[in-house]
Each structure stands twice: as C-alpha cells, then as structure tokens.
Point group: C2
Chain length 549, copies 2
C-alpha cells in the first residue's frame, strides 16, 4: 500500500496510546530521551486528568487513606496479636476499594463469596488431609491441582470474563489458608482469624468510600446518556455541513488530512457508538446503589437510561453511514450538492434542536411539556421538504439518457395490468429524446476525481469504479464508462439524502424511549411547579457528608 489512507472507521479501531507515545528503537541515547519525553507527556496528561475530573483525585486520597487506616492494625499486638493477620485486612482493601459505590458493593460481594467458598474448601481439604495421616501431603498437593484446574477452566467461560480477577483472588485465598494452616496445624484458628480480618477490611472500605464524598455510578450513567445526545448533535451538524461545503482535495489528500472539524464529527459518533460497553458497566454498578441525590425511587429505572442511549446509538449508526458518504470512494459533484443545500441544512438544524432539547430535558429530569408533545413536528416537516425537493429534482440523481424504451415499456407492463401500450410507447419515445438535453447539460459538469492530473497518474489515484473507466485501449477513456461513473456519483447524493431521511425516521424511537424513561423515573412535569425539596432518608443521610463540587 503506497498511500496510507485514513479509513473512515479506523479511529474506531485505533489504539490511542500507540499514536501518542513515541516509538523509537535506535541508540541508547535516543531511548533515554524517548523515555524522558514519554514520561513528561504522561505526567502532564495525568495532571490534566485530575484537573478535568477532580473526583479522581478525591478517590485516590480516599484510597490512600483507607489503606493507611487499615495499616494501623499492624501495630496492634496486645491483648491479641492482630498484627500477624493484618495483611488480610489490607489485601481486602486493595482488592475492594473501587471508584464508585456500586462497584465497591459488587466487589465486596464477590470478595465475600470467593472468600467464603475458599474457606469452606480449605476446611474440607484440611480435614481430609488430617484424616489421610501419612498421605497428608499428597492430599494437599492434589487439592491444589483440583482447585487450580477448575478455577482456570471456569474463568475462560465467556460470561465469566469480568470475574477473572475474582477467580484469582479465590485461588490465592485458598492457597494462603492452606499454607498457613499447614504450618501451624491449626486450620480452624488460621481460617477463622483470617475471615474476621477480611470482614474488618471490608467494613473499613464501605465506611470510608460511602461517607467521604461518595461517587455514584448512577450519576455517571445519567451524564453519559445526556452527553451522547450532545455528541450526536455535533456529529449530525458536522456531517451535513461537511457534505454541503465539500471541497475536492483530490482523492488521496482528502483522506490523509482530516480537518479539525472532521475530527469533531468523528469523535461525536465514535463516542456514542463506543459508549455501549461503558453503559453496560455503569448499569451493572448503578443497579446496586441505594437511592441517592436526585434518584429517590428504590428501583430507579437505570435500564431505561441505557435503552434511551440505545435508541441514540441507532441514530449514530445512520450518522456513521452519512460520514461514510463523505469519505466514500464515489463522490457526488459539488454543483448537485448545492441544489439540496438548504433542505439538508434545515433537516440538520431541526434534528440538532430536537437532540439538544431532549438532552436538556433528561439533564433537568423534566417531562415533555403539554405543548411539546409534538417535538418532532419541525424535523418531520424538514424531512418531507427534503423528500419533495428530491422528487422535484430527481433528474439530477439519475442518468435518464440510458432509459431503454423497449425494456422500460416491458417493465411497466409487468408492473401494471393496464394495457395502454400505444400511449406508453409514444410517451417514452419523447421521454428518451428529451433526456438527451438533460444529459447534454449535465455532462458539462462531470466530476471525475483528479480530472486535471496527467493520464498516467489516474490509474493510481482514482479508485474503482472510476479507474476501471480508464482501462480502455491504450489509456483512452471510454465515454460509456465515464457515464457509468457519473451516474454512480450522482446516485451517492441520493444515498446521502435517503440516509438523512432514515435518521429523521429513527428519531421517533428516541422520543418514545425518552417518554418511557420520563414516566418510569418519575421526571417532574414542567407545567407543575414543585416547591418541596426534601428527599428520602438516604438522600438526607448522604447529603450530610457530601462535599459540594
């Protein structure tokens, strides 16, 4: 591949750290300076991360505090020697202390379950090994083999991937219990004392994480959904503007130098499409969280937030296809794009308005007002106007010259049962004659990519279907095939329009999902002014400890 193209969706696959880190394999000196540059970049970005989201700094301090608090246990030597088991409480804090409350609860639950199972198994095998007498060592080694094999096998099970870590902790716990028990020969004491210390560690985790500036996954999920709407709006606007303002950079330049605005439009739909996994993760955490802040119902419908985002994502796929039109191999001529300019922009503006309106509704947790129930009216009208314009100007989208009188007549005969042959034939004859005039006026603006390039360069730069057109005898351009390319390129305009209309059609689903959410989550009605601001028990409880951002 001589030309390195920026694939339309390559960004979806690119590994971010690959592009930022400098990779060099030269001399030792280069390596050192390379390492130094990378470290400086890294620390800059790390500081910026904290400035953008101060919660991360707070989490780090909370985490350090929890660890140092629990480490006080190592100095507790009287009346009982707690210090020898203190590592267990510390291990629990290291394993369990997560960013959000929901995640901490889940991890704690998994840790508890894993430890309990490991404890039970340790008891079982300890008893067996003591019963075995001389075969004690054999029983212990076999138990390690069984536990290790089963845990390794089960963690490969596809749906168990998120718990891979849990399996490791489980095996580790089992090993430590067995080793400790084997050394002292007092399995019961060894196991029970460790279980108590694990419980102490877990309690400290919960108390510190919940009481000091709690960070909720639910908040994050809510914000993510709102953000998806905004990103999609940016993308839609960028996409339509990009298509309308299209400048022909020439085939290769167009792909290698993405404009800054282009990047924005990329990042928009890319964010929406890629947020699916993050949403699932946050949903998994949020459902475990008690009512808090604005979410006062016991079972807040977090799933419906994800559903709304799913509908938004469905629209994002259309935007991705629209962007595909901008970057596609086959391009519509600029003159023709201008014809539909105002309709495209109208649809885009109305679409953006709807998206922003719903986003702000979700952000404020408000229902649609009585006079907003037909929120899609304007965008639907804009869509219909676009459609009508296409109908009126559809001669621009096709190559009517090649309509075949005979086959066309036959076609319509097949479609219809009416037998007005004579009329048809007469009709089509005049149609095809007139088509010559249409063609003659369109041919004066043929947009063949890199038309000004010398012939020998064409083969390289112009992709199929255009370059095939230049494969004629001795590089002579076959007029027939130019026409094929021209009509393909005009048809790509129809694709753009059709996808835009599809986008408008898909907005209905977004509004439906939003209405479902606003019902289930009990969003407030903007027409009824509510003055009370009390909140449930948990809300008030947590608010006491909550530091205002």
């Amino acid at each position: 591949m001589s030309k390195e193209r920026l694939l339309p969706f390559a960004h979806l696959e690119a590994n971010d750290d690959e592009t930022t880190s400098c990779i060099c394999f030269k001399s030792m000196r280069d390596r050192v300076s390379c390492f130094w540059n990378n470290s400086r970049d890294f620390s800059k970005k790390a500081l910026e991360m904290g400035r953008n989201d101060p919660r991360k700094v707070i989490y780090a301090f909370k985490s350090g505090f929890a660890l140092s608090f629990v480490s006080l246990l190592i100095f507790w030597k009287k009346p009982a020697d707690v210090s020898q088991f203190s590592i267990w409480a510390m291990l629990t804090v290291i394993v369990m202390f997560e960013f959000s409350i929901g995640a901490t609860i889940i991890k704690g639950f998994n840790r508890g379950l894993g430890t309990f199972c490991a404890g039970m198994l340790a008891f079982l095998f300890a008893t067996l090994s003591l019963m075995a007498g001389d075969g004690e060592k054999v029983v212990i080694v076999i138990s390690f083999f069984i536990i290790g094999s089963i845990a390794s096998y089960l963690k490969l099970y596809p749906t168990m991937a998120p718990y891979e870590y849990g399996y490791r902790v489980f095996v580790l716990t089992y090993c430590i219990l067995m080793v400790a028990g084997n050394r002292t020969r007092e399995y019961t004491v060894a196991i029970l004392s460790r279980l108590v210390l694990i419980a102490v560690g877990a309690c400290i985790c919960f108390i510190i994480n919940i009481c000091i500036y709690p960070i909720w996954s639910g908040d994050d999920l809510h914000r993510l959904v709102v953000n998806n709407f905004k990103e999609l709006a940016t993308s839609l606007e960028g996409c339509v503007n990009g298509y309308v303002k299209y400048v022909d950079y020439g085939s290769s330049t167009r792909f290698t130098t993405p404009q800054a605005s282009d990047d924005q439009l990329y990042l928009g739909y890319k964010t929406v499409i890629e947020s699916a996994n993050r949403e699932q993760t946050l949903l998994g955490f949020a459902v475990w969280e008690p009512p808090h802040g604005h979410y006062r119902t016991l079972r807040h419908p977090w799933k419906t937030y994800v559903k709304v985002s799913g509908a938004v994502r469905r629209c994002a796929y259309t935007i991705m296809a629209l962007h595909g039109c901008i970057l596609s191999e086959i391009q519509a001529p600029q003159e023709k794009r201008q014809v539909f300019r105002s309709q495209f922009q109208k649809v885009s503006a109305e679409g953006v308005k709807v998206l922003h309106e719903i986003a702000s509704k979700i952000e404020k947790m408000e229902k649609l007002g009585a006079n907003e129930h037909n929120i899609l009216k304007e965008v639907h009208e804009a869509g219909e106007q676009l459609q009508k314009k296409i109908d009126e100007r559809s001669f621009l989208l096709i190559n009517s010259q090649s309509w075949e009188i005979k086959s066309q007549a036959k076609e319509l005969e097949d479609l219809s049962n009416e037998r007005d042959y004579e009329n048809l034939k007469l009709g089509f004859k005049s149609l095809s004659e007139t088509a010559i005039y249409i063609k003659s006026s369109l041919i004066m603006a043929p947009r063949l990519p890199n038309k000004d390039l010398p012939k020998h360069k064409l083969r390289k730069h112009v992709p199929w279907p255009s370059w095939i057109s230049f494969e004629g005898v001795d590089g002579l351009i076959k007029e027939d095939e130019i026409k094929t390319y021209q009509s393909a390129s005009a048809l790509s305009l129809a694709t753009f329009a059709s996808l835009l209309i599809e986008f408008v059609a898909r907005l209905q689903k977004v509004v439906d999902c939003f209405e479902e959410l606003s019902e289930e989550a009990g969003f407030r009605d903007p027409d009824i002014v509510v003055l009370t601001e009390s909140g449930g028990f948990w809300t008030r409880f947590f608010r006491c400890f909550r530091v205002k951002r």
Copy 2:
C-alpha cells in the same frame, strides 16, 4: 413503548448472559429451582466449551499442574526453611499463568517490574522508618498513604486500564514486604528472600507453559482474521438474499421475529465489527512471541494482519448499512426489488467468491498467483452491470411526476452556461407529459405498509414518514403525502444499490492490504512448488513437545 422492537444494532449492545440466565424474583422455591436450572445450564455450556476448544481444557490442567508443582515448596523445610516464603512463588504462578505464551510473557514482565518497584520502595521506606527512630510508625503509615494514593490515581489513567491489575499487585507486594519486614525487623532478608521465590515461581510458569502444548496468540490472531472474511461473506450473501426475497411481515412482526437466516447475517458482521478489541489484545500478545510454527520470521508482521482485518471491517460497516436498509422504517416495494434481483445477486456472489478466495489464501499463507492478480475483475464487472441497470431503470427510483418544468429549466441553466433555452423548454415539456404515464403505472403498486389494516390502526403501526401521511383531516389520506412516502420508499432502493456499489469499491482496499501482508509475511508463491519442510530452530524445538490436535 408498547411494541418492543428488535433494533437493527441492538445485538451489538445486548449482554449475552442476560438473555440466557433465567431471572426470577418470586418465592424461595422458585429461586431454588431457578438456581438449579441456571447451574445445570452453566455446567452444560461449560462442558461444551471444552469440547469445542480442547485447548481450554489443556490450559486448565497445565495451570493446576503448575500450582501443585510449586506447592511442593511448602514441604521444603531443610536445609533452609523455604516453606515460609512458598506462598510467594504460588502467588506468582496465580498471577502469571495465562492462556497463551505471549500473555504469560507480558504478565511476567509486568509482574517483574511491579515487584522490582515495590521492592525498591520498600527498601527506601524501611530505611527511612529505621532512621526516624520513634517516628517509625508514622513513616510506615504515611508510606502506605502515599503508595496507595499514587497507585489508585495512576490506574485511572485511560491507557493504564489494562494494567489496573498490575497496580493492585504492586500495592499488595509493597504491603506484604513492609508488614513482613516490620514484624522481623530484618527488611533486607525479608525482601530478598521474597524476590528469589518470585523468580522461582516465574521460571516454573514459563517452563510449564512453553514446554507442555504451547498455545500461541499468533495462531489465534491468524485464525481470527481468516474467520472475519468468512463471516463477512456470510453476511453479504444473507443481506442481499434477504433484501431480494423480502416478505412484508407488517411493520411490527418484521422486527420482533428475526428469521434464523437473519440471525446468521447479524452475527456475521457483528462478529467482524466486534473483533476489533480482541484483535488488539491478541496483537499485543503475539508481538511478544518468539518465531514458531508457520511464522518463522523474527518479526512476523502481526500488525499487518490487523490492518487486513481493519479493511475487512470497513466493508463490514457497509454491510451493516445494507442491513439497516432491510430493517429500516422506509421500505422499497417488492416489485421494484425484483427488477434488480439478478444484478444484486451477481454482485453478492462475486463478492462472496473474492472474500472466500482471499480467506483461503491467508489460511494457506499463499500469495496471489500470476493469473489471479486481477481477482476483483468479476466483482467490478458485476458492480458496473448493476450501475448500468440502475441507469436504465432509474425511472423506477424516482417520482418524475413532480419534476417542475420551470425550476428544472432554471436549475440546468445554473449548472450550464450554454444557452439553448428553447430546446430545453420544449424538451422538458414533453418529458413531464410523459411522466404522467410512468406515474399512472407505478401508482397501481403502491407499497404502503399494512395497507390492509383498518385505518385507525395505521397511526400506530406505520412509522414516519408514512404515518404522517395519514394525519389529514379526519383520518383522510392526503394523496400528496402518499406520493412523498412512495418516492422515499423507492429511493431507499437506490440507497441499497449505492451501498452495494460502495462495498465493491471498498474491496480494493482489502486486496491491497492482503498483497501487503503476503509480501511482508513472505507467503509462498503458489506458482513455485516448494518441497522443503524444515523450519527454524524454535519450530523444531517446540514441535518436539507439541501434542497433535
């Protein structure tokens, strides 16, 4: 939302375990039977997993063997009491033992680095605490706070997400070293003895994992790329067949009952699109692996495999858009689809042929033969035929009735600088007259969804833009708006065709990438028959231990 639609891309978001596990919150008895059913399902599937990929079973046994082998250290009490540090070697095995060789090497490297850093820091703070005299405890607690905070903060850094685990192991190692050192007051002995045991554990891991039936990430990556080609071919075929054979189930049924064939087509492009992450992971492992098996060069171009897959994915996005046409709100009538049937199927058949051919080439690690260099010839021809057919039948895609004589003339005047007004006007008059015939024959086959439903049901089932059409006074259908819907629906056929042509255009990139790969990876030339079958040192070395599957 009354109707639960299966969104076209919902599968991309769906959480698999949600659909399979039975969720019930009823009585205790129900819960028990529910748990029992789930467990039975789980074990069935777990066994099936092993049957489908015996390497997983082998990995589990290897893992159990490594753990039990290293556990023998707990009985080593003379001459030195190794048993008290044995847990360290076990911990290393638990952390490091991975499915593939590449992953084990990376984990080992991370483990080594993390342990080294933790060891250095432990030395540093131990010295400080001993120097502090009375303030020893304060220094230790503060060191925990600092280490805990920094590690927690850095693991939140986006590109550090895969090493989250490494950070935890690092903190854990630091804690254990400090606690152990603090108890015995012999920090140096405590730290060094543990480092030696970690090295022993790591060696055992490497030896067992590499010598007994090694599992290579490179193999997996190779197979994944080949599989992507096959999945894409299935999807393409299914998509075009689905579009051509389209049966109108009615708006809602169509979405809620996906056909079995539909599912295949889904899974095809879904697999390709979702494989991006897995490819990156496998690539990360594969680049660490020494030459082995078929991959005899020292720096096998694993990145180029991923690049080929990226080009395939770019085609998959077009297939996704094509599938979007099948599931879209706006549908083209069946009669019109039939007109292009053979061309659609020709493109699909040729495309599938190309994909299968390249897949088999990559599988066999073969270059394109001398007479295969124009592998895309047939599919390009099929694409051009489709384009020509569209040109010939483009009157089916548009609503020429609404061509406005006046504006059309003006349009063309703007586009052209030639001033042959009289001709144009004459031309268009006859054109628009004839268009009436076209329209009259098309209107007899209007495909309004759920045409046979009673009027009051239409509002509910038919989405925009069709249902808007029925919003006329007292439910009367406005003829004007029906036309708009009809032409939108016909235009969607143009979208399908245009996307299919775009797919063909994108195949070029796939072939380019494949050729690049075949050069870089030194695929063999099918025209030259090679009889030698020797392999490098590593190949022969590993082959000795390799159990034939």
